[in-house]
């Protein structure tokens, strides 16, 4: 899933300074799971903004809406009635959520309340880690399902390097060495021969940016 973090309140206030009525839009998918931009976070941000503007003696009315996915135009279109009532929209979706809103309502200023950080998974309660770089040339078949492109500090395809230290990385002694993890996983699966192969440099143009995938339903 896509992981994001909320921007500092000060930055958000600077973006919406001068507006008297705004709409905060949450997203019910990835950013709800990572506690950054779901219905609850929308309510908390609205409350904080109301408190801050009351404190400074400014007038600010806030409408709230959370849709299932901000990255789908059909779902964003349902915001039309609310968008028409406000001067600006603050999106609590990832970057792929902000842009459809801006595209569907081109006359409306749309601001991001989140910083989209990475594609990842939860490691524990409230902790998310990056696990995929979305490189377009998946290497996981060779590495026992552990991605060295993201999890190795050097992104090595032929690891480990000389800096592996009792299973930890030389860059950060708290961080696991991805290639040690890969070795252990392949050993567990009886596939250590995969470690002995040499992998040539990757195709860094597997995805021409901006990426586009065209497909038909199965």
């Amino acid at each position: 899933m896509i992981v994001a973090e909320r921007k500092p309140l000060e930055d958000i206030r600077e973006m919406i300074a001068g507006y008297k009525k705004i709409l905060i839009v949450g997203c019910g998918t990835c950013v709800t799971i990572c506690w950054a931009g779901g219905e609850k976070e929308v309510a908390v941000l609205s409350s904080q903004l109301r408190l801050a503007s009351k404190k400074d003696g400014n007038e600010l009315e806030i409408l709230e809406a959370t849709i299932e996915r901000q990255c789908e135009k059909e779902l964003v279109e349902a915001l039309k009635d609310k968008v028409q009532q406000v001067e600006a929209v603050l999106s609590m979706g990832c970057g792929a959520g902000v842009q459809p809103i801006a595209e569907i309502f081109p006359d409306m200023p749309v601001y991001p309340a989140l910083n989209t950080t990475f594609v990842g998974m939860p490691e524990g309660e409230g902790v998310w880690v990056e696990t995929c770089r979305a490189c377009g040339d998946c290497f996981l078949d060779k590495t026992g399902g552990i991605c060295p492109i993201v999890r190795c500090a050097k992104g090595l395809l032929n690891g480990p390097c000389g800096g592996t230290n009792n299973g930890k990385c030389e860059i950060d002694s708290e961080k696991d060495c991805a290639w040690t993890l890969i070795y252990r996983r392949l050993e567990q699966q009886g596939r250590l021969d995969a470690m002995r192969k040499y992998y040539p440099p990757r195709n860094f143009q597997a995805v021409i940016r901006p990426g586009k995938v065209e497909t038909l339903p199965a």
Partner: protein, 141 residues
């Protein structure tokens, strides 16, 4: 705006029905007085108190908020008091971000028979909030 000397803070106290609410009752039975400006809200468990409940109390003009729950290891719902403690910490940070002193929200734990502790907490918090003055969110404050 009230004169500073006459400032009587609005303090909302979310009280767990299993402990703090009964402690407030005990204080009453024991004829122990506590400030009348503490507004007691009975909740089934301190863990029911959400970050938004506390924030909205401030939006509606509270000068301070108290969350009172059971002692640790004594929550009838196992971890409601721990959840409440974490949420109070979270609100603390959220208020600081807004520019409101995080000390305006506090959590205490007590047992249902601790009427005098309830009154002492109420008095101490009342004094602390008086020193902080009216909430900066209050119009004209």
């Amino acid at each position: 705006m009230k004169a500073k000397g006459a400032f009587l803070p609005d303090i909302v106290a979310f009280c767990c029905a299993q402990s703090a609410y009964q402690a407030a009752d005990t204080a009453g039975s024991m004829r122990i007085t506590y400030p009348e400006n503490i507004r007691v809200i009975r909740v089934p468990c301190a863990g029911r108190v959400d970050v938004l409940h506390i924030l909205r109390a401030f939006e509606k003009g509270a000068d301070g908020v108290l969350v009172l729950g059971c002692h640790e290891e004594a929550c009838r719902h196992l971890s409601g008091n721990i959840r409440a403690k974490n949420r109070v910490q979270r609100v603390n940070t959220l208020l600081q971000e807004v520019g409101i002193d995080g000390k305006r929200v506090e959590m205490f734990t007590l047992a249902p028979n601790q009427g005098s502790r309830f009154a002492r907490i109420a008095n101490e918090v009342n004094e602390r909030i008086k020193e902080l003055g009216p909430s900066p969110v209050k119009s004209g404050a």
